[in-house]
């Protein structure tokens, strides 16, 4: 019923948000798949990623993809953050956010009663998970910088516990990103209008 009263001509997602969202999606796919091929060259754990889901063909190729897409990820992420803060959208969309609201939404989700009828309003779970994934992307970039240039960024290296610790941080931040993407895709499948909104803006 609520859907009917929403003015369908109102823009839910501005152009800059949609553009940065899809560029980020492309960068994340390239970074993740090439990253898996790089991981396979010297696995941290007792498993490898299947070659069919990796990018680059061999280590050198994967590194070329990884170190090309990193510019897209970082530059696009910076534009996103600047626009988000500059327009005040980050405050309007993501706050207020309380642990109590997150728990309430989480319980509602398990009962199948979590609502996302008005696409202009993020529920507490969305706010929390989007803020989480932004922080996770920042952590991926910072730990990636330590792996790429561990000598040139001594402060960052020591903050992350050294080169080897940074490898672990980078890996688990990747795992968190992949987990987010999987839930994100499942939620989009449940509320397909959100996909439409992210493409045409309303």
């Amino acid at each position: 019923m609520e859907v009917a009263v929403i003015d369908s001509t109102l823009t839910i997602h501005p152009v800059w948000l949609r553009a940065t969202h899809w560029l980020n999606a492309l960068a994340v796919v390239i970074m993740t798949m090439s990253g898996w091929r790089i991981y396979n060259a010297s696995p941290l754990f007792d498993f490898k990623f299947a070659k069919a889901i990796t990018l680059g063909g061999w280590l050198g190729g994967a590194i070329q993809w990884h170190f090309a897409a990193m510019w897209l990820l970082a530059a696009n992420g910076l534009v996103y953050l600047l626009c988000n803060v500059g327009t005040g959208r980050i405050v309007r969309k993501f706050f207020p956010l309380s642990p109590r609201a997150i728990v309430a939404d989480l319980l509602a989700a398990f009962r199948g009663q979590l609502s996302h009828a008005d696409l202009r309003q993020y529920n507490a779970m969305q706010r929390a998970s989007y803020l989480f994934v932004i922080a996770d992307a920042v952590l991926l970039v910072l730990s990636g910088l330590v792996l790429w240039k561990s000598v040139q960024f001594p402060l960052l290296r020591e903050l992350l516990g050294g080169y080897e610790a940074a490898r672990l941080v980078h890996f688990f931040a990747m795992a968190a990103m992949v987990a987010f993407v999987m839930v994100h895709l499942a939620m989009t499948a449940l509320v397909p209008r959100t996909l439409l909104a992210m493409i045409r803006g309303r």
Partner: protein
Amino acid sequence: MMKKFPRLVAIDGDAVVKEALRRIEQPSRRMFLQRSLTLGGLSLLTGCAIVDEDSVEHALMKVSRFNDKVQGWLFDPKQLAPTYPESMITRPFPFNAYYGEDEIRKVDADSYRLEITGMVTDKHAWTLPELRALPQTNQVTRHICVEGWSAIGKWGGVNFASFLSRVGADTSAKYIGFKCADDYYTSIDMPTALHPQTLLTLSYDGQPLPPRYGFPMKLRMPTKLGYKNPKHINAIFVTNTYPGGYWEDQGYNWFGGS
């Protein structure tokens, strides 16, 4: 021509048809690959070797050259790589090369000569005793491999910057190239060559450099990835002409700094 013709007839007919079909199929297959790329099809990216697509490979190489420049700009000649206590040395220190351990080159110590050429004033070839007579220093640093793993080792030898000044190297040159007894070759930038931790290495863990770590001499740079640290060095040359490298020519990033 006349001789060849009867031989062709003798060829298995099915095989000829198959070969012809294969040749017809190839261009269409190539067109399909090109189209799926222009469509931005991520499907092409999956598990594909980059060598499949010349234009993609070319673009990635260009970004890699750009990344060389960024790394040269980021490189702080005074920023030291961390050093570690000897108790943290990785034992055994891993062997790594483009060949297996059974193919480690044996270099004869007595006949060994280190050639110095290019933009230097003193081009005399160095013997091993001559190199060992120079002032020596030690470092315990982390070796980081392009594959991701790292190991801590202890290397000893001659500060490379002081060696370069001893042979009268023109330090305004862009590159220093290395040719090795195991047919490996690589090259580095001048700022890294002059970095205080760059070491013309003659010993490992207090012993003469063993063959597996590059006897009689390797270049050790804790500011660069493993493949930039050549072993069994025969010749060093100072140049303004880009010398490339064994892995670099195949697609590894040239600067390869950490």
